[in-house]
């Protein structure tokens, strides 16, 4: 059944909370605030506590989530979020901590940040880390600012171009643009990697750097990475690693060792801070020593008197966050990493990559694998054959999976694979879950041949049916308005 909007449930006079009487002498509003600044009407909804709870409980019941099922969403690393981390983030010593307290009163928080700077640095194989970016794209922006600051500091202000592979996440070129850079796209080769020849042909002293996801968005390791880094360095540029796919590598390979100069992590991917329906995220940036002088302020340092927020970074790019990043996300990820520790952190990557290859192996006879070789943490299938032969598109397969109780994979990305179905199982799924998912995919593959209509008309069992997305964009309604009052 349809859930009304808050505003439609609202009734005049209802209260969701009882606030205290004022216990100090009350002065007249007019004596305190200029009359032009006093609000006349506050058109917020009015609901009782039971109505608020029931409303949002109903909404939650219409939502897929990791806790309710398998989420094979490629490029998104939808892994399980351990409950202890949620408890920690609710601890009042963290949740009710004001960021402007003197350092002496925040030693616990500073210890978390200090340790995480070091941990992230080490996992990246880099030399320093800023925890401040509030999401991956924010980290990209910071990384590019660092590159820019470096070049400017070295009299290389003419470098105005960032190279981005055609399979890159859209945030890469968008972040480059936000940092005032032009972007130049390099092609992928037949192996799904950066086309080295093309890359070489574009190098010049205008190149500020290259942004590369590794493993790339095809789930393949860029095995020429050392040469790529050499090429970019050779022309005076720096190399940025989009760490969105670090779940394939933690403890098994380090971008710093490959030649990357700067990278971001998505803590809400690799290190399991929950996605929250689309954030908050956290996108720490790790750098080689050459970029450390430009990091944003403050950094946490350890002194004889404990941990301290160091604001004095003369060459800093400046502030990109009001405070010290998504602290409560960082805390969760810190605990996630401590749980595995140096002994077991690579289990994360091992099991993520194993799960992806298992799906690749079991499904490759039913859907074409874009690149049939050992993949990393995700595998890309193509429904091109199904589309050609039966008119069933990747979108239809995705929607049909919902009828089997699964979240769809990522589709139509990367763009270079036609009818792409991008599946990332993560390490927190069991073989049994993968087997059930594989069975569902096989069933769909069969149905596409025998009864394509049932796939094309999917989903059938979801709270709503396929949406008219064009209508939403054509006649945007992004804010509820009260219905006209009948006179």
């Amino acid at each position: 059944t349809h859930e009304r909007l808050l505003f439609e449930i609202s009734q005049p006079g209802r209260l969701g909370v009882e606030l205290p009487e004022c216990d100090v002498p009350v002065m007249s509003l007019e004596s305190l605030i200029p009359s032009a600044q006093i609000r006349k009407d506050l058109p917020l909804p009015e609901l009782s506590e039971p109505e608020v709870i029931r409303h949002f409980t109903h909404l939650s019941q219409k939502n897929y989530s990791v806790d309710s099922g398998f989420y094979p969403l490629g490029s998104c690393t939808m892994k399980y979020n351990p409950k202890v981390n949620e408890e920690a983030a609710r601890h009042p010593g963290f949740a009710r901590l004001h960021p402007y307290l003197p350092d002496a009163q925040t030693q616990g928080a500073l210890e978390v940040l200090y340790d995480m700077q070091n941990i992230i640095t080490e996992i990246a194989g880099m030399d320093a880390t800023s925890l401040q970016p509030a999401a991956g794209a924010h980290g990209e922006l910071l990384g590019l600012m660092l590159i820019k600051a470096y070049h400017e500091d070295h009299g290389q202000g003419q470098r105005d171009t960032i190279i981005v592979p055609e399979a890159a996440h859209g945030t890469n070129p968008a972040s480059a643009a936000r940092c005032g850079y032009k972007t130049l796209t390099v092609k992928s080769d037949a192996r799904g990697r950066v086309d080295l020849a093309h890359l070489k042909s574009e190098l010049s002293d205008k190149i500020a750097g290259l942004m590369l996801t590794n493993p790339n968005t095809l789930g393949l390791f860029e095995d020429d990475i050392a040469e790529i880094c050499d090429l970019i360095h050779g022309c005076g540029g720096l190399v940025y690693c989009d760490g969105a796919n670090m779940n394939a590598l933690v403890g098994r390979a380090r971008p710093g060792d490959m030649g990357f100069d700067v990278m971001h992590f998505n803590l809400h991917k690799t290190f399991s801070s929950p996605h929250g329906g689309g954030g908050p995220g956290s996108g720490p940036v790790a750098v080689k020593a050459i970029l450390e002088p430009y990091l944003p302020t403050p950094q946490v340092v350890k002194t004889e008197n404990g941990f301290v927020l160091e604001h004095n970074i003369p060459k800093t790019v400046g502030k990109i966050h009001g405070f010290y990043g998504s602290f409560l996300c960082i805390l969760r990820s810190y605990l996630f990493i401590l749980y595995y520790g140096k002994e077991r952190l690579k289990d994360v990557a091992d099991n993520a990559v194993l799960n992806a290859n298992y799906i690749r192996t079991e499904l490759k006879d039913h859907f074409d694998v874009a690149f049939d070789e050992i993949c990393m943490h995700e595998v890309i299938f193509s429904a091109k054959r199904q589309q050609r032969e039966h008119g069933v598109r990747a979108l239809d397969v995705a929607k049909r999976l919902m009828d089997f109780g699964y979240h769809p994979p990522t589709i139509y990305f990367p763009l270079i694979v036609p009818e792409a179905l991008m599946i990332e199982p993560t390490e927190t799924e069991s073989r049994q879950t993968l087997d059930s998912f594989i069975d569902a995919m096989k069933q769909i593959a069969e149905d596409i041949v025998s009864d394509p209509e049932i796939v094309k008309s999917a989903p059938h069992f979801t709270p709503v049916r396929k949406l008219d997305e064009a209508l939403a964009a054509r006649q945007p309604c992004v804010c509820w308005s009260p219905p006209p009052v009948a006179v």
């Binding site: 909804p45 219409k62 936000r178 689309g278 502030k319 010290y324 073989r431 709503v464 964009a473 992004v478």
Partner: protein, 450 residues
């Protein structure tokens, strides 16, 4: 490992199915020299009991507002959070879900964001809002960039009464877009219409204003808005959403873009992050908004349903020509904000604002009576924060207050050298008269000691 279901046996069977003999074989695509063979130099692993003890030990090393009455504000506020917020944001259907790219199984998040957008508009008196930004500071930077693009101009006029951190972030952002920040130095804690008028040029894309401003003072938003528009610039404001329980909404003074830090709307202070950026503007700018937007549509059966819309503005489609690079925003905190506003409602938010206002004025009045203390801007009207001139070193004063079990104020000297001994104090509805009186007594004692 408790978070990884598969056992050695499972792994063995799966490797066999794949045709490999060991986990190491999975990494053959990585050139051998690039494989990491050592042990990471990070801490050893914690079992779950040890992990729990560890975080509790760390938590206790922090002076939380749970333990001490907090008079610190300056952008992050200790407002009351009704228990509905935790009950709903703690539902794993919300917090373990992804961005709602698949609307058929994401109506919960989508509708909650649609409601959040509407609540933002209602609160601000604006036409349209987005699905959230990282925080107030980056939201202001995005708004400034958007304003420059809309105006086709490159200068931003920014009074120094705007949160200095916001101005720092703004500087960092716009520098790379070849935009310029013209800082307007103010006096007496308020931005005057005259000074704005004088500072505007034909290149001024937008005038920015914080309301109430960083010192807690209430600016002449109407006057400055009019001057900005007269000069062909846009008017961009940054507001305290709690203050809107009482203060004229930006829509009524013709703001073009409005941003806010929404942390006060039910989100934890959390040592400053994550936060909740609000972003609203006039309808005519809808297609230039950064970030995600949820819109209403119908499903195959004609039922009302919600979907992410106007997606061609976004980075994953428009790439370098997107309106912003923002991707992940803060959907869960937007949900918190929606639950907060739904729970507080029309009456509750007004009351929160009124209580904060009254208690702040009581505190300020009492503090101003202490010898050696005075209000820095006695003529400026203020909401829940105010600046106090103190008789000594504010860092020491805060130490003294902490020794008395009180979290003191924000030291202004760092960003405002002329306010070297001044403290920005904040009083929310959570502070009781007893707590305020204790603060006053402690301040008086410090004065006596100095």
């Amino acid at each position: 490992m408790a978070y990884i279901p598969n056992t050695d046996q499972d792994r063995q069977a799966m490797l066999e199915a794949i045709g490999l003999s060991s986990l190491d074989d999975l990494y053959t695509p990585i050139p051998e020299p690039l494989r990491f063979k050592g042990e990471l130099n990070i801490p050893s692993r914690y079992n779950q009991l040890a992990l729990e003890k560890h975080y509790k030990t760390l938590g206790k090393k922090n002076a939380s507002a749970e333990e001490y009455p907090c008079f610190l504000g300056a952008g992050i506020y200790d407002h009351y959070v009704p228990p509905t917020v935790g009950a709903i944001t703690g539902r794993s259907e919300f917090y373990t879900s992804y961005t709602p790219y698949q609307p058929e199984v994401s109506q919960g998040v989508l509708q909650s964001i649609f409601e959040f957008q509407t609540l933002t508009c209602e609160l601000m008196g604006m036409d349209v809002a987005n699905a959230s930004m990282y925080d107030g500071a980056t939201a202001l930077a995005e708004a400034a960039i958007m304003a420059c693009e809309l105006a086709g101009r490159k200068h931003l006029l920014v009074p120094d009464t705007i949160n200095p951190i916001y101005r720092d972030v703004l500087e960092t952002y716009v520098r790379h877009m070849n935009l310029t920040v013209d800082t307007l130095v103010t006096e007496n804690g308020l931005t005057t219409v005259e000074s704005v008028k004088a500072a505007m040029t034909s290149e001024t894309a937008a005038v920015l204003l914080q309301q109430p401003n960083f010192f807690g003072s209430i600016e002449d938003a109407q006057g400055i808005s009019a001057v900005a528009h007269e000069g062909g610039a846009l008017f961009v404001t940054c507001v305290d959403p709690i203050s809107l329980g009482l203060l004229t909404p930006p829509g009524e003074y013709d703001a073009d873009i409005v941003v806010a830090e929404g942390q006060s709307l039910g989100c934890p202070m959390g040592y400053g992050g994550p936060l909740l950026g609000l972003f609203a503007c006039k309808t005519k700018y809808l297609r230039r908004i950064p970030g995600r937007i949820v819109g209403e549509t119908v499903d195959g059966d004609g039922k009302r349903a919600f979907v992410m819309t106007l997606r061609t503005r976004e980075q994953d489609i428009r790439r370098e020509r997107a309106t912003s690079n923002i991707c992940t925003n803060v959907a869960l905190y937007a949900l918190a904000g929606a639950v907060y506003l739904a729970t507080m409602g029309r009456q509750g938010l007004k009351q929160v604002a009124e209580l904060s206002l009254q208690k702040a004025h009581y505190a300020a009045t009492e503090i101003a009576k202490i010898p050696g203390y005075s209000l820095a801007f006695p003529d400026a009207p203020y909401f829940k924060e105010f600046v106090v001139q103190t008789p000594g070193d504010t860092a020491k004063l805060n130490e003294h207050l902490m020794a008395k079990g009180i979290i003191g104020g924000y030291t202004l000297g760092g960003y405002y050298p002329n306010l070297n001994n001044a403290l920005l104090l904040c009083v929310t509805e959570q502070r009781t008269k007893d707590e305020i009186d204790a603060l006053v007594a402690a301040l008086r004692e410090f004065e006596g000691n100095s």
